[in-house]
Every structure is written in C-alpha cells, then in structure tokens.
C-alpha cells in the first residue's frame, strides 16, 4: 500500500470507527451526571475506615493497590527494557565531563535543585493527605536529579546516580511493594490488606499501609526514571558528544 493509499484507507476505516464510537458513547449517562456506585462506596469509607483525606491516592494504594503493583512493574520493566536495548550494542561508556560553562545557569541550578528536591519530598510525603503521592513526587525528584546534569555536568550526574544504586532502588521499590503484600499474606491477611495503624486523618502517617506503599512507589519511580534518563543520556553522549 502506498502512502496516499494508506491515508485514504485509514480515513475510510477511521470514519467507520468514528460512527461506531459515537453510537457507543451515546449510551453513556449525560456528561456531568455520573451516578457512580463504586465511587460513592469508596468515598463513604475513606475518612471513617481509612483515615485519609486524599481519595484517589487511597484508591491507588489501598482499594486498588494490586493494580498499582502492576503499574509499577510496567515502569520497572520499561526501564530495564531500555537498558537492555542500549547496552547490547554500546561500545563505550560516556566518560566525558560535559560541564556547563555558563555561570548564570550553574547558579540557577544550585538554587533550583534543592528547591525541587524539597518539593518532591513534600509531594510524596503528603500523598495520603493532599493531591500528590509517590508517582507525582517521585517524578519531581528524578527531575531534580536530572537538573544536576542540565545545569551542572554529566560527570556530576553520574556520580550522583551510580548504576548499581539506581537499579537497586527501582528493584527495591517495585519488589518491596510486592514483598509487603506477601508478608501481610503470610501473616494471615489478604494480599496487601491494610494492617498498619491508621493514624489520624490529615497527618502524614495516616492510612496505615497507604503511607508505606506510597513511599515504596516513590522509590521505585525515582529509580526507574533515573535509570531511563541515564540510559538515554549515555546513548546520546557516546554518539554525538556535546561541545
């Protein structure tokens, strides 16, 4: 099939698909009037039974915590997959320093890196309480580390994130999540049952295992994203060194 032929074929197929989709969507409740038995059942129990105030985070780490294990593993596997793909054909490591020479940028880096790090920790820690959580805060932390490369030097970033440590971090996060559930299972509960003390709503340690799993997922996210950044950057810096 040639390119214009393919475009025409897709428009035809897509048009038919669109009709199907519209027909299906017309069966949905009108926008804004969702009845939601599942959501209501969760909301009814969240503050009283779980002592947390952030409902989506409670769902992510408790009510549907098993889905989150799967999701973390997807992140874990993608990072390993990228490392696998790149390392098979890499001849040399990126050993250069690649420093940033501009003093203004370096100054901004010095100011922003600790700020972002604190922000990241704050977002993670407040998961059970206010919008945020392990995933969101973990990405901010990984970004704060990346800023060391962007405003500092590649050598400094490599020192900050040694490979064995990063791999250990991501495996500890994802594996730790699975192991926590397993321990609870062995102790006689259901897998990932919330058995830790629930604390008080509004406090950082509320929600029992929600807070614990929140931190474990943050560790996994920081490890996985840092591994991803490292692999892509090494690939870029070995093939076309920055001047």
């Amino acid at each position: 099939m040639t390119a214009p032929g393919r475009a025409v074929a897709f428009v035809a197929a897509g048009g038919a698909f669109a009709c199907l989709f519209v027909w299906g969507a017309s069966g949905l409740p009108p926008f804004g009037h969702y009845p939601g038995p599942y959501g209501d059942a969760v909301i009814a129990s969240v503050t009283s039974v779980r002592h947390t105030t952030n409902v989506p985070t409670s769902i992510v780490f408790d009510y549907r915590g098993f889905d989150t294990l799967g999701e973390e593993l997807i992140l874990f596997i993608a990072a390993i997959g990228v490392a696998l793909v790149f390392r098979e054909t890499r001849d040399e490591e990126a050993d250069g320093v690649f420093p940033i020479d501009d003093d203004e940028i370096r100054l901004q880096g010095v100011v922003l890196v600790p700020l972002l790090a604190v922000l990241g920790f704050e977002v993670i820690a407040h998961g059970p309480v206010t919008p945020g959580g392990g995933f969101q805060g973990g990405v901010i932390l990984a970004g704060a580390a990346l800023l060391v490369f962007l405003a500092g030097s590649w050598a400094a970033y490599r020192r900050l994130t040694p490979e064995p440590a990063v791999e250990l971090l991501e495996a500890a996060g994802a594996g730790g999540y699975a192991v926590v559930g397993l321990v609870i299972l062995i102790l006689g509960g259901a897998y990932l049952e919330n058995v830790l003390p629930l604390g008080e709503g509004g406090q950082l340690d509320s929600g029992g295992t929600i807070a614990l799993l929140n931190w474990l997922s943050a560790i996994a996210v920081v490890g996985s994203f840092t591994l991803l950044f490292r692999e892509f950057l090494t690939e870029m810096l070995t093939r076309r060194p920055l001047r």
């Binding site: 949905l28 969702y34 009510y63 098993f66 559930g181 919330n194």
Partner: protein, 597 residues
C-alpha cells in the same frame, strides 16, 4: 486455599525483583537457579489451585475489601480451573524456556531472567483476575515485558522492526480495551467482572453494549493474532530468541482467546443471551478465516521461526473458533488443544533454537541437508509436527475432536473439514521444512518462499553441549504427544468449561461467597468420524509435504499467482499499514455486531 491465589503472580515477581536488585553481584548459575525455582513454584501452585478450583471458584479479595450489597470495592482474583490451568501452562513453558536458556545464551544476563519472570507473573495475573481493569493492567505488563524480550538481541542483528510492530499494534489493541472499560464503567459503575455482568443483565442491548463488546473482542483479538489483527506476530517471532518464542506461541497468544471467553461468559452472556447465534457466527467465521490465512502463509515461508509463527496464527484461529462456539464441550476441547499445542509448539521452537545454535542459520533452504547430523533434534521436530496434526489419540487429537463434534452438534457440519484443511496446511509446511533440513529432501531453490535476510546470529549464543539444548525440547514434545492420553483430562476440562461458562456460579462465588463445585461431566466419547478426520488429516499433511518436496513444479509460476502476490503485499512489515488494518478490522467487526445483535 484462597490465600494461595495471588502466589502464582507474586512469586515470580519477587524473584524478578531480587534478581534485578542483586543480579550484578550474584554468580551466573545462582541466577539461573532462582529463575527456574520461581517459575516452577508458580507452576506447582497454579496446578494445586486448578485442582482445588474444581470444587468451585477460589476467590481472593485484595486488601480484604469484600463486596457490599453487590458492589465490589476492591480487586478480586476469581480462580477457576481454566484460568489456573493457563497459569500452570505458562509456568511449565517458562521453566522449559529458562532451562533451555541456561545453555543457549553465553552469559547468564540477569535482565533476561527478570523479564521472563515478570512476563510469567503478568500472564498468571491476566488468567486469574476477576476485575476488568486489573486484566488490562496485566495485559499491558505482559505486553511491555514481551516487547523488551523481543528486542533481546542475542540472535539477530536487528530485532527492532519486529519489536516495534509488536509494540505499536498491541498498544493500540490495549487502547481499544481501555475505551471499552471506560464505556462499561460509565454505564454500570463497575469494574468487577461479576458486578458488570449482573448490572448489564438488566439492561437493553444498546449501542454502548455492542460497541463495548466489539472493542473488548477486538483488543483481545490483537493479542490472539486473529485476522486482520495478526500481522505483528510473524514479525515478532522472526526476531525474538527461540526460548521467548516458546512463551509467545505457547501461552501469550492463547491468553487473548481466554480473555474473550472470560469476558463473554461473565460480562456479556447475560445481556447478550438472545444473540448467541450471531456472536457464534462471527467468532467462528473469524477463527476459521484466521486458520486458513495462517496455514497458507506458513507454506510461503523459509525463515523457520516465521513459519512456526504462522502456524501459531493458524492454530490460534482454530482456538478462537472453538471458544466462539459458545459451548462447554467446545471450550473444553479448546483447553486440551491449547495445552497440547503449547507443549508441541514449544518443542518445535526449541528445536529451531538448536539449529540456530549449532548450524548458525534459520533459513530452510540454507539449512537444506545440514541437519542430517542432528538426529535427535530432527526426531523431536518431526514428531512434534505430527503431534500438531493430531492423529488419533496423539497430541492435539482430543481437543480438536471435541471442538469438531461440538461444531457439528451446533449445526456447523463443515467444521471438521475446515479444521482439517487449516491443520493440513500448517502441518505440511512444518513437515516440508523438517524434511528439507534434516533429510536434505526437496529442491535447493524455491521461489515461492519469501526470501528474508538470513543474518549471521550475533555473538551471544553459547557453546552448549547439544543434549542440554535438545533435552527440554524432547521433554516438551513427549508431554505434548501424551496430552490426548492423560486419563481424566477430557472429564476435567469439560467440568472446567461448564464452570467457566456458568455466569450464575461466577456471580454467587465472587459477590456472595458461595462456592458451587463444577458439575460432573457426561461420559466422554470419541466418535468414529473424528478418528476418521484425524487420520485423514495426518495422512494429507504428510502427503502435501511430500508433494511440496518431491513433485516437479514451477515455483516461479506459483509465486506469480495473484493470491500469493496479494498476501505478500499485505504482510508488508510496515507499522502504519498494520494499524490501518487494525482500525478497519475493528470497524468491520463493529459493523457486523451492529447489524446482527
């Protein structure tokens, strides 16, 4: 035994995390041992669950969130013998693949074990889950580990095209599933399969129900490699290492078919109960078409793994037809057929791996006659191929005969013929390849076969002792042949199928904690006509292979036939084209269901 339900998923995952964390510091053999032990433990627990589940669904509520008033708040695993059996097959094939890789790759790279173990965990999760979004998450996890495994480079220089086509098409399939989940959630407020089925049963069959059904079926059909969603499979198998292909062909593709069976039985069998005939016609039609396309394409290949991949597509179509009959006996037959096929196809891929490791080629014509010294491998190859054809009481016979009889019983008298023709085509292709490689029969050139760059395998294959590679293949082949003879398999699978199709039992087990055991099976008979079809099919496959090898033909004329040219053009390797077919296929499926339901 509900506490054990998460274990087939959790144990491989913990093993993988352990290897990922400490892999750089562990000696290589320890990594191999951890991998095999984790996979074997998962398989054993799945088998125990399968046995226990004959007494009724084994339901595990994660986080101990039990349903209130028919509303499920948490995620459930609802283990039945069919799901647990699929998980067990995955575990067994993983053990075989890891045992093979022990000697096949030169270093025990721990990434391979990590990926394979997570892949196993994801497949078990998909098979055991009772929650639609949870099934989607494991579907994606299964996908991502598979994409990474496809790109694992120790054999080919460039697995990128195969991995890319695989990843893009399966991701689009996952989108379709997710849209269906969004529609169903909007309509019912449920993600739990039992609750979805219950809520929908009281609704009219409107556009939303039809479209959600279409999208779920289409998404799972991408995984099951049914026509026209199948293009990715041959590309992926051509480049993935042989032990990985064992898993893809043996259990991953079959899970797509299981997904359709599960979703139909639990979610849609209530609301669509008046449309069973229409659904049957569509699914059986797509299945048989896939079988025929797979069979013909297999005959056009000389890249052995690609040939075996098209054979998988052919058999996957027949599995779909079996499930599509919407009948317990046919479902039971599909289960036995999947089991035999998984083991036998696994043996064939491992044998192909031996050829690659010893002779450094995977091209049927380049290998012509060079396999003469590999007598044990050749024996395994031919015997496994015959097992796939399913002569009476061997290999796939039990499964195929059950499906064919159920088809005739449902009024589709042409099913035995269709099954036999598809099976003859794909088996003849494998036998032809076996004859050419291991005995040197047949011409040295054949223009009907698609030439593919037969690249030197990249460094990374070990210098194994041959028996270490052939032994897992032989074990799988022997097990696969014996499937039709296992006492109690026919009865057990029939009981499992009855339980799987019983929506009432599912709902009461999941939402009301009332387990009902699988009903006793009627006595299992094998009719004379299925023995006749099986014998004729096997003989025809051997005869066709013989014709292809020995008859003097003009391959250039065959290669120039419009059908062959059209088929080649369509299987172009181009990602955009595959996606266009996917969207078109989904739209066509939807139009069919819209008209018929």
């Amino acid at each position: 035994m509900t506490w054990a339900a998460p274990l087939p998923v959790v144990i491989p995952i913990v093993g993988a995390a352990f290897l990922a964390a400490f892999g750089t510091w562990l000696p290589p053999r320890i990594k191999d041992v951890v991998g095999v032990v984790a996979a074997a433990t998962s398989a054993v627990i799945s088998l125990l669950l399968m046995h226990h589940a004959l007494g009724g669904y084994v339901v595990h509520w994660f986080g101990d969130w039990k349903p209130k008033g028919g509303v499920a708040i948490g995620i459930a695993f609802a283990v039945d013998p069919l799901g647990a059996g699929a998980a067990a097959l995955g575990g067994v094939l993983t053990v075989a693949a890891l045992a093979f890789s022990w000697s096949y790759f030169d270093e025990a790279r721990h990434y391979f074990h990590v990926l394979v173990l997570v892949f196993l965990g994801a497949m078990c999760g998909f098979a055991l889950s009772g929650d639609l979004f949870n099934m989607f998450v494991f579907f994606e996890l299964m996908g991502v580990s598979a994409y990474a495994l496809t790109a694992y480079k120790s054999e080919e220089q460039s697995p990128i095209q195969g991995a890319l086509n695989f990843a893009v098409t399966n991701s689009v399939g996952a989108f379709l599933i997710l849209i269906a989940i969004g529609l169903l959630y909007g309509e019912t407020g449920a993600l739990n399969l039992a609750q979805l089925g219950n809520t929908l049963a009281g609704h009219q069959v409107d556009g939303l129900v039809v479209v959600a059904f279409t999208l779920l079926v289409a998404g799972f059909l991408v995984k099951a490699a049914a026509v026209p969603f199948h293009f990715w499979l041959a590309d992926a198998h051509a480049v993935a290492p042989a032990p990985v292909c064992v898993l893809f062909s043996g259990i991953m593709v079959e899970l797509g078919v299981l997904g359709i069976a599960r979703v139909d039985a639990t979610v849609f069998s209530g609301v669509l109960h008046a449309d069973q005939d229409a659904i049957r016609s569509v699914l059986v039609g797509v299945g048989v078409a896939t079988g025929l396309v797979g069979g013909v394409m297999a005959l056009l290949q000389r890249h052995l793994k690609r040939l075996l991949a098209y054979s998988t597509i052919c058999h996957s179509g027949l599995f779909l037809a079996g499930v599509g009959l919407l009948d317990p006996k046919a479902l039971a037959g599909t289960a036995s057929y999947v089991l035999a096929h998984g083991l036998l196809k696994g043996a064939l891929f491992l044998a192909a791996g031996v050829l690659l490791s010893e002779l450094h080629s995977i091209d049927e014509l380049a290998l012509r006659g060079r396999g003469r010294a590999l007598r044990a491998t050749g024996l395994v190859f031919v015997v496994a191929a015959i097992g796939l054809a399913g002569p009476p009481f061997v290999g796939t016979f039990l499964g195929k005969s059950d499906i064919e009889e159920a088809g005739v019983h449902a009024g589709l008298g042409w099913m035995p013929l269709a099954f036999t023709v598809a099976s003859v085509l794909s088996t003849a292709a494998i036998l032809r390849a076996g004859g050419r490689v291991f005995a040197g029969w047949g011409p040295a050139r054949d223009a009907t076969l698609t030439p593919l760059p037969d690249e030197e395998p990249a460094a990374g294959l070990g210098r194994a002792r041959r028996w270490q590679l052939v032994a897992p293949a032989a074990v799988l082949a022997a097990a696969g042949l014996a499937v039709s003879l296992v006492p109690g398999l026919a009865d057990g699978s029939e009981r499992a199928a009855d339980l799987a199709r019983d929506r009432g039992a599912y709902v009461s087990a999941v939402l009301e904690s009332r387990r009902a055991p699988a009903p006793p099976a009627p006595p299992h008979e094998v009719t004379a006509s299925s023995i006749a079809w099986a014998t004729a099919g096997t003989l025809a496959a051997v005869a066709l292979a013989g014709v292809l090898l020995f008859a003097r033909r003009r391959p250039e004329r065959v290669a120039a036939r419009p059908l062959v040219l059209a088929l080649r053009a369509v299987h172009s390797g181009h990602t955009g084209q595959y996606v266009t077919w996917l969207v078109g296929g989904a739209a066509a499926l939807g139009a069919l269901f819209a008209l018929l339901l």
